[in-house]
Symmetry: C2
Subunit: 146 residues, 2 copies
Amino acid sequence: MKPMTIGRLSSAAKVKVTTIRYYESIGLMGTPNRSASGQRLYGSVDVDRLSFVRHARELGFSMDAIKDLIGLQTEPDQDCSAVDTIAQKQLAEVQKRLAQLEALERELKRMIENCRGGKVGGCQVMAAINDHSECETDKHERLKPL
Amino acid sequence: MKPMTIGRLSSAAKVKVTTIRYYESIGLMGTPNRSASGQRLYGSVDVDRLSFVRHARELGFSMDAIKDLIGLQTEPDQDCSAVDTIAQKQLAEVQKRLAQLEALERELKRMIENCRGGKVGGCQVMAAINDHSECETDKHERLKPL
DNA sequence: CTTGCTCCTACAGTCGCTGTAGACTGTATC
DNA sequence: GATACAGTCTACAGCGACTGTAGGAGCAAG
């Protein structure tokens, strides 16, 4: 179980080297030991932790939420309802976003469906973007990037 | 049809004042006329254009795509297949994102479902984030923010 | 005339990284 | 031992699409 360099950790946890250093800078990874020449040295604990972070990111958790989850992880005797709350909140966000995107999909399909070729001047897609009187997405808050 | 200030334009097109100035800075709104004291002055053309931009943003188009659409708008005699292509591309992105989020929803639900209270140490949500061996989102590319 | 809103510029901050520059370290091959 | 090349280091700038702040100047109503 000898220590590994940042590059090994990177391929073990499938997180880029630069990203690992970034995570360290925002206090997500603690301060690693260093070799005599100043290179970061990690152990298998760090692989686990970093993999956890990666997977939580893949699940769409914010860095703040992940910090909270890591904090909870280090206190295994605490009630896990806090974890549940974070996960529930995340699920709610995902579902909200799904509803937005479904509305978006319907509207884009409608636009494209109505456009039957021709000139830009009479293009129904352009018209649809211009005239949004009957548009359901108007009721939504501003859309976050795809 | 007398000119309006940026604040009027803002409420007419439902785009924030600061955002209008930002759009100007990235070349999306042209350079407006100015009053003697230097205040921006707009006409109804600008309301239309800005509303168009807002609605396109609500549909999730990138600023680059919107720039293209505006460019096409000013040439109404051109074939509208270019517009169609941009819209199709956008629809494809939306559908891809939908698929990602649906996978996410399933996994979050599964995690929460399996967690039946207790201590963090035995929490199935934490375990699920840790052990991602059977996780379908692992196959996806990195998720963009919600 | 004063109050209080709107407008101006210029710049820093958001999030979650990614990319760049320039220098040093570690390892493999000749 | 020399050389080549990959890996590592720090520090900082940039991405997209804005948002927020500071410190002023303009303008309409009471």
